[in-house]
């Protein structure tokens, strides 16, 4: 713990020198201010406590405060390095007006131990300026001229160099330029100055870029008494989902991605998202999704002293015709989709997959898997079956190893099937073999189309053999490279062919 007495300053490197980037109240009383050199400060007040700045931690803290501000409005933007912009248009009445909202915000921020200045104004520029340079208060839209006139030009969010050159010609306050002709100012100081000026005074609209995409459907619930039990949270989810369901139905939409935001009493914010594989509207289904998500989070779901607000938002909505939801004939498909959603929510959507066929001859590229939630109806298997019938493909193994494993093999004739091979320390005598089936990469691809990282075998043709050993085990082996190439010497650094085991048959 830091002793309360010592004045605290934070310093960082600016150019080549350590300068103060922040000072606390006690330090400010000593006459210290940001921008002073640290060495000078130390010389003046040796007892001062100085800490190096941590910009990443500052940004993270600002982010978490921004998250917390989501309780007031979904439109929150970071005004780095030390400010937040909240668009409270249409939200203030939930708190009974702007003043009660500011009071509530101030009370909570102060309780968390932060100093703050809040200003409400009709434009982003005016609010920014009033909070930092003027009198923090709530101003009505249209009062921008009065607010801004007495403030220094730096309040327009300009480059320090622009402010300095304006000062050189005697322009110090915003009021000084309000009635000046525009074109000489633009010619001398650039278009940025007039643009910032117009934006601050509301002549030009400045959009607020929220940190998080704004959800099309939102429902929220505040609690007088914080809730902490998982059942209560899930019950709230169901209640909110039922409310969202009505709105979704009215517009013929269904939810594809839902986000639950829980505001803990101590200011921490939990955001839990769940995806669905088809548009969803049913409150019980949505509750089931979050049941799995919460179960998967286990200890990470730490309610602390409870949550005092919950918000459920449909982040991605998709139009869904009414027959897709809860119709008897589709019941089975619906059940399967619900199962996929439940499994994906608990295990992670990357772990629940469906196989798809791809257009390639290379075995490891011919089939892939996609997350089951995103896989579409066309998996390409019909095309694969047609191709197999036309090309009369040799059988493929039941299980394919993720990476072909090197084996020691002994072949009778150089390019023939192996007589005997050793895989995972066990020796197998080959009784019968079928092959070779030569698989070569596409000629236009430099790597020969083989994705495997090992360059030694990557670009080589493969001869696949299906072999059976004495006990009836069947394997899919291949030889990378040909002895012929080695003998002919076409490839100057050709390595001797090597054998790999790629899969197992039943």
């Amino acid at each position: 713990m830091r002793k309360v007495a010592a004045p605290l300053v934070v310093y960082g490197k600016r150019g080549n020198a350590d300068v103060l980037t922040a000072v606390d109240e006690a330090a400010a009383r000593l006459g210290l201010h940001t921008g002073m050199a640290l060495a000078q400060t130390r010389a003046m007040h040796p007892a001062i406590e100085a800490l190096p700045e941590d910009a990443a931690a500052d940004a993270a803290l600002l982010d978490s405060i921004a998250d917390w501000c989501l309780r007031y409005t979904p439109l929150v933007a970071c005004d780095a390095p030390d400010g937040l912009l909240l668009d409270i248009g249409g939200c203030a009445h939930l708190y009974g007006g702007e003043q009660p909202l500011v009071a509530d915000l101030g009370r909570r921020v102060a309780r968390a131990g932060f100093a703050y200045r809040v200003a409400i104004a009709g434009t982003i520029g005016a609010a920014h300026a009033a909070a930092r340079f003027g009198e923090p208060a709530a101003y009505a839209a249209g009062e921008e001229r009065e607010i801004m006139s007495p403030l220094p030009l730096a309040a327009l969010r300009l480059e320090p160099s622009t402010v300095a050159s304006l000062a050189r010609v005697g322009l110090k306050r915003i009021g000084d330029i309000i009635d000046l002709p525009r074109s000489p100012l633009t010619a001398r100081f650039g278009a940025h100055l007039m643009r910032q000026f117009d934006r601050a005074l509301g002549h030009e609209h400045e959009p607020l870029c929220p940190r998080l995409p704004v959800a099309p459907y939102v429902a929220e619930q505040r609690f007088h008494e914080p809730i902490a039990r998982e059942e209560d949270v899930l019950g709230t989810v169901e209640k909110l989902a039922a409310r969202l369901g009505v709105a979704l139905e009215r517009r013929g939409d269904g939810a594809r991605r839902i986000e639950l935001t829980l505001f803990r009493t101590d200011g921490a914010v939990r955001r839990i998202a769940a995806g669905t594989s088809r548009p969803l509207r049913d409150a019980a289904d949505i509750r089931a999704l979050f049941t799995e998500r919460l179960a998967a989070m286990a200890d990470a779901f730490d309610p602390g002293f409870g949550f005092d607000m919950a918000r459920l938002a449909v982040v991605i909505a998709e139009s869904c015709p009414p027959e897709q939801i809860g119709i008897g004939g589709e019941e089975e498909a619906g059940e399967l989709v619900r199962l996929v959603d439940r499994l994906s929510a608990r295990l992670g959507s990357q772990r629940v997959r469906r196989p798809i066929a791809l257009d390639s001859h290379i075995p490891e590229l011919a089939a892939a898997t996609l997350p089951a939630q995103t896989a579409k109806a066309d998996h390409g298997w019909d095309a694969f079956r047609r191709h197999r019938a036309e090309a009369d493909l040799a059988p493929r193994p039941l299980r394919l190893l993720t990476r072909p494993e090197p084996i020691e093999a002994l072949a009778e004739v150089p390019d023939g099937p192996p007589l005997r091979f050793r895989w995972r320390r066990a020796l197998h005598d080959v009784i019968s073999a079928e092959g070779p089936e030569r698989i070569e990469g596409a000629w236009w691809s430099e790597q020969g189309g083989h994705p495997s990282g090992n360059l030694s075998s990557g670009s080589l043709a493969r001869d696949y053999f299906r072999v059976e050993d004495g006990t009836g085990l069947r394997f899919w082996l291949y030889r990378a490279g040909l002895y012929r190439d080695l003998v002919r010497g076409d490839l100057p650094n050709a390595a001797p062919p090597s054998w790999f085991l790629h899969g197992t048959f039943a």
């Binding site: 469906r354 059976e468 006990t471």
Partner: protein, 244 residues
């Protein structure tokens, strides 16, 4: 109170895995079906263990053959199993009548997730079969019992695929040890149709036995393999039983 609990317990016990409710799945082999009491019981848990780790692909094929009638199939495996033995390969699944587009795979990091996912899947009426693949080690008998109950309730086929034979207590309706068997004598042009040395080591409804089966992909079912000369019962790894 106690009586009531006893009655409920009895009702529960009656149901585990040996109930005829969801019917049986005839394999089409008279000798085998007779042993199984008409066919493989639906709505029950069956264990298929590979005779040894190298035989896992055979056990996989056998399990898929049993589940061949399922329309949708969920295959749940531990990450380790997929890394060690390879993942199911779409183009090869067709040989066992399993259309890859009907398959959903789930990889799990922990065994308790595997058991949870299997149970969850068995509650879903759209699935015909659920295959859970275990690599090593024992499995919680309570969890197996829960799986049996879930299978009975749903009528789906629950298959536990193990890389090695195990002798832990289990409520499975049948327990098989499956290894590869040499294909017929006509191997001049490469390996023939896949053959399985299937040993039934536990059967809650009848006697045990062992057979050499062959998968006929034209008929999409197992047939009894005929050997050119009579052979003794196949040598299989038996789980070593501890002597108390």
């Amino acid at each position: 109170m106690l009586d009531e609990l006893r009655q409920r317990l009895q009702a529960l016990q009656k149901n585990t895995g040996i109930d005829d409710g969801p019917g049986v799945l005839p394999l089409g082999i008279a000798a085998l079906d007779a042993t199984l009491g008409g066919g493989l019981a639906r709505g029950a848990l069956h264990e298929v263990a590979a005779a040894g780790e190298a035989h896992l692909a055979s056990a996989t094929g056998f399990a898929l053959g049993l589940a061949a009638s399922a329309w949708h199939l969920l295959w749940i495996a531990e990450d380790m199993a997929l890394a060690e033995s390879g993942a199911p390969y779409g183009p090869g699944l067709d040989a066992f009548k399993l259309k890859p587009e009907r398959l959903i795979t789930a990889a799990v990091a922990h065994r308790r997730d595997l058991l949870w996912a299997m149970e969850e899947a068995l509650h879903c009426r759209a699935l015909g079969a659920v295959i859970g693949e275990l690599r090593h080690g024992a499995i919680d008998p309570v969890a197996v019992r829960r799986l049996s109950l879930a299978a009975t309730a749903s009528g789906a086929l629950a298959l536990l695929l193990r890389a090695q034979p195990a002798d832990d207590a289990s409520t499975a309706a049948t327990r098989w040890i499956v290894g590869a068997a040499p294909s017929g004598d006509d191997t001049a042009f490469g390996p023939g149709a896949p053959r399985f040395a299937a040993q039934l080591i536990r059967n809650r409804r009848g006697p045990l036995g062992s057979w050499i089966l062959e998968w006929r992909d034209t008929d999409e079912r197992f047939i009894l393999a005929t050997h050119p000369q009579p052979v003794a019962a196949p040598l299989l790894d038996r789980p070593r039983r501890k002597v108390a």
